[in-house]
Amino acid sequence: MTADPPSAEDEPPAVVSLVNVYKVYRRGEAVPALDGLSLSLPRGSYTAVMGPSGSGKSTLLNLVGCLDRPTAGRVEIDGRDATTLDEDALTAIRRETVGFVFQTFNLMPRLTAVENVALPMLFAGVPGPERRQRALDLLGSVGLADRVEHRPNELSGGQRQRVAIARALANEPALLLADEPTGNLDSETGSTIMALIGRLAEAGNTVLLVTHERDVAEHAERIVHLLDGTVDRIETVSRRRVDDVEEDVVGWNS
């Protein structure tokens, strides 16, 4: 089953809209990684994408994150057609419209927590003092006010992922893109991270979560199941998982 492209006028404009997207990698077999996929993420929605290996999860993530262009089809991010943009414009979308959270945290090893969070703002041209203040505020909001001058290797996995989430929010993105955010964390720490992402979704952020774990995916409002490069089915989560972590537990130095 393929989701219909957004057509209704009265619906809020989608943050992400993929219409009949194909992606074929030239190298290797000519099996398309995405095979006519259409998907729309309404503003403020919290969507999880699940699927077995090779179903096209990573390719979808790269396209939505503007790291890659489709072979055919339309990819619209926040109203802009990413398929027609040049590299600098794609970079601008990554910088200002999308916030990335990775499985392996991907912090800059030589920079302190506050510098890591400030980095996207540096590229965006935010002036120095404002940059630092906002980075400090963001770190405070993920419960790391006392770790701002630590380098990543001085932080635990959970702390690193929270620095990464703060960094993803630095330029106030329209979309938060989380790729297996708990994949490198123990289950307890993973729970606190999912609680944090849940809190961000409730605050109105549009979140796209890619995972292969059902437990994790159940935090979202709906789960998009991919199979062989297309949407297999969209499942609305009837009973969303709320981890038994208190809100203030997020402030732990886990």
Partner: protein, 420 residues
């Protein structure tokens, strides 16, 4: 991206690998240090030579016969072939604008003895009493020798080279050759050291003794003078003293035409030689020419060293790009433009180049200072080298960093993020 923040980030990358960064800059350090050391030594040497030549002889024109093929330095003594007869000396002396024409020859003595001590292999300058005034030399004791008498004048170094110090009135023995009979001479004057000698420099080291003797009776070299038909003494060099320093150039022309018209010298000049009339300016520019040839040679070597240095930096920058591939991927994923990535890596290469150049300047200046101290030259440092070194450092950095920075910017973020 702000320049200062970018430089800060790049500096952090450098300071995180201190040893590696130091080794990387070594090529540039050596190149810049070599240029500064040798060019400073060259400049100091040149200054010293010019100082040595300066002084009283700005109005002295040196007339010599030099080989066509050999680029001899007129006025630094030695060399030349004896072609100037007494007739020629008189001819030059009669030229308008000439105060005196002083012939100068040399005598290689097998040894010079004083009391029980003999010093071997001495060069004795054979000239006329007018020589001392022409060269602007004054006497610490005694007077110039007189023509036709067995008298000599010593400089301060020659006076102290024997076991016992020579004083005015002492007798020294000159041994012209192993088979010839020694001749006695009375020391009638001892020269006051020149400023260059007392400073002790490369060209006129304080330990270089000089002995001066009159042509008669010590100089026996004679030829048949074509102009007069008689046997006359013949000298390799004539010092012509101009009446004043302003007309030296026009005097040079008059001397040349007189020599060509009626001298013995141009008749007895051997094949392959020509007569040279060199003013103070000619002598100085000849030295400058030699010195700048030397400088160009050193700069050439240093350029090679800088190329090697640039390759070293480029090499380590490429390694850095490969090593930090994941970081580049992260930066691009979170919104770094290609030019941000280029800027960061170019910064790093430029900082390495600059670091090398500044270290090289310090090492080079220190080397030049030690060098001039060792060979007793005046230390002449040209401050222009600091901005030049900075420019070279930046230039080497840019050249070395461009390709690595470009290849860093080209990194595909998807590939780079997958890279462990």
């Amino acid at each position: 991206m702000e320049l200062l923040t970018g430089l800060g980030l790049s500096w952090r990358a450098i300071s995180d690998h201190k040893l590696r960064s130091m080794l990387t800059t070594l090529g540039v350090v050596i190149g810049v240090a070599a240029v500064i050391t040798f060019v400073t030594l060259g400049t100091s040497l040149q200054a010293d030579v010019v100082n040595t030549l300066a002084g009283g002889d700005q109005n002295v024109v040196t007339v010599t016969a030099v080989s066509d093929t050999q680029a001899g330095i007129a006025g630094l003594g030695g060399g030349g072939t004896a072609v100037f007869t007494q007739h020629d000396v008189a001819l030059l002396g009669r030229t308008p604008g000439v105060a005196a024409a002083v012939p100068q020859g040399g005598l290689a003595a097998a040894g010079v003895g004083y009391r029980n001590d003999t010093v071997g292999r001495q060069w004795i300058t054979v000239t006329t009493p007018a020589y001392f005034e022409a060269q602007g030399r004054s006497f610490a004791a005694g007077r110039p020798f007189q023509e036709g008498r067995p008298e000599v004048v010593l400089n301060a170094q020659a006076a102290t080279m024997f076991e016992e110090n020579v004083t005015v009135g002492s007798n020294v023995t000159i041994v012209p050759g192993a088979t010839q009979r020694p001749v006695n001479a009375t020391v009638v004057g001892i020269l006051r050291p020149t400023s260059a000698e007392s400073g002790g420099t490369l060209l006129s080291a304080p330990d270089r003794p000089a002995i001066y003797a009159p042509t008669d009776p010590y100089y026996g070299r004679r030829v048949s003078s074509p102009a007069t038909g008689s046997y006359q003494r013949v000298y390799p060099e004539v010092l012509v003293v101009a009446t004043d320093t302003t007309n030296v150039e026009s005097l040079k022309g008059r001397l040349q035409s007189r020599l060509a018209a009626s001298s013995d010298a141009h008749l007895i000049l051997p094949e392959g030689y020509h007569l040279s009339v060199a003013t103070y300016q000619d002598r100085v520019s000849k030295l400058r020419e030699i010195s700048s040839t030397f400088t160009a040679y050193v700069v050439g070597i240093a350029l090679i060293s800088l190329v090697v240095g640039a390759i070293g930096i480029a090499n380590i920058m490429l390694a850095n790009v490969a090593e930090r591939r994941r970081e580049i991927g992260i930066m691009k994923a979170i919104g770094a433009r290609n030019r941000d990535v280029v800027q960061l890596f170019l910064n790093e290469a430029v900082l390495l180049g600059l670091l090398g150049a500044l270290l090289g300047t310090v090492v080079g200046v220190a080397g030049a200072f030690v060098g001039t101290e060792l060979i007793k030259l005046p230390f002449v440092m040209d401050v222009v080298w600091l901005p030049v070194a900075i420019a070279v450092g930046v230039g080497v950095g840019v050249v070395a960093g461009l390709y690595p920075a470009w290849s860093a910017a080209r990194t595909d973020p998807i590939e780079a993020l997958r890279y462990e």
